[in-house]
């Protein structure tokens, strides 16, 4: 037994909380610094708790909390469902921006082609930029379609479950 720790501290707390401190325990507390301190602080905290309980604070009704949880759950589900769509929208914006850049470049190429032989213009049209743009479009469409299919399947399985 020392000031910091006594194996009977839990017993002291239990007795203080129940309000039934035995004579034997009271004698022990007089001789044990740790238990005496525990007793004092337990009394302090119980007084603090009693002051709060005296005000009889009423928690919100269970139905109100239930409704709030439902609304929160629905908002979470909606957020999860729209994350992918937001991503696709972002990709769409990037693609449109890239397309506009390519159009501007192509426009300058066509203007320059008036001064060059026809085969040179055809060559520029068949350049990697065209294939890159077309490939990007096809990939984006495929990715978007796949995502929508996946979302549809998930929604279908959720609705079908009992």
């Amino acid at each position: 037994m020392n000031r910091s720790r006594c194996e009977r501290e839990a017993e002291v707390v239990g007795a203080m909380r129940s309000g039934a401190v035995s004579v034997e325990l009271a004698l022990h507390m007089e001789g044990c610094a740790a238990c005496a301190e525990t007793q004092k602080v337990t009394a302090l905290m119980l007084l603090h708790a009693a002051a709060i309980q005296a005000q009889n604070p009423q928690p919100p009704t269970a139905s109100r909390v239930w409704r709030r949880a439902q609304a929160q759950r629905q908002a979470d589900a909606l957020k999860r469902a729209t994350q992918l769509l937001a991503l696709m929208r972002g990709l769409g914006v990037v693609y449109v921006a890239a397309l506009m850049v390519w159009c501007v470049r192509a426009f300058w190429h066509v203007q320059g082609a008036e001064m060059t032989p026809a085969w040179s213009s055809l060559s520029s049209l068949a350049s990697g930029t065209v294939f890159l743009g077309a490939g990007g479009a096809v990939a984006s469409i495929a990715l978007g379609a796949w995502c929508l299919l996946l979302l549809g399947k998930r929604a279908g399985s959720a609705t079908a479950s009992p």
Binding site: V41, P57, T159
Partner: protein
């Protein structure tokens, strides 16, 4: 599948895992009735503010329902709820909006600590002084240990700290709180 509606949105909500043992409203009502009052008292005791306590209490149960933990014993559920509440309090204190909260203990709820007829004036002043001087973490630990009567292991589960840390922190908090009491006080 059960279909519910909410005030926030009239569209039906589909609780797809309800049949898998998730909590229904009746079970929630039973749990809430058994646990809400002690948790509310804990939150008021730690924050000293009724508005914050109410908000955190509701958020605690919302998190519990959204996470839908598996089957738990009554005591385990209680500890889990205390843990959520404790974590939410910590999050609030860390956030900018409630940065001043620990320093504003009992502001707006000071009537709770007003002197009652059956209590000694000095003791009430001791309580108020001690609660103001203690850090939120210390008030948490002291409340869980001495009002809720939790063991070190249970407090560790409720706060996310190790039992060894609890032992040390609780010892320090106890000594600090005892320093605010007059020698003759504390006898109940």
């Amino acid at each position: 599948m059960a279909v519910h509606t909410t005030d926030a949105c009239e569209a039906p909500i589909l609780w797809k895992d309800e049949s898998a043992g998730a909590m229904d409203e009746q079970r929630f009502q039973t749990l809430y009735d058994a646990t809400a009052r002690p948790i509310l008292a804990y939150l008021i005791g730690v924050t000293g503010r009724r508005d914050v306590a109410d908000d955190v209490l509701q958020e605690t149960y919302c998190r519990f329902l959204v996470r839908q933990p598996g089957a738990m014993e009554e005591n385990e559920t209680r500890r889990y709820l205390f843990r959520i509440a404790t974590n939410l309090l910590r999050d609030r204190w860390r956030s900018r909006e409630d940065a001043q909260l620990p320093e504003r203990f009992d502001e707006g709820y000071s009537e709770n600590l007003e002197v009652r007829q059956d209590d000694d004036v000095d003791t009430q002043m001791d309580v108020r002084r001690a609660m103001r001087a203690l850090k939120p973490r210390e008030r948490e630990l002291l409340w869980l240990a001495y009002v809720e009567g939790m063991s070190h292991r249970e407090i560790a589960a409720a706060t996310g700290l190790s039992a060894m840390s609890i032992r040390l922190l609780l010892f320090r908090a106890r000594g600090k709180a005892a320093g605010f009491l007059r020698p003759e006080k504390g006898r109940v």
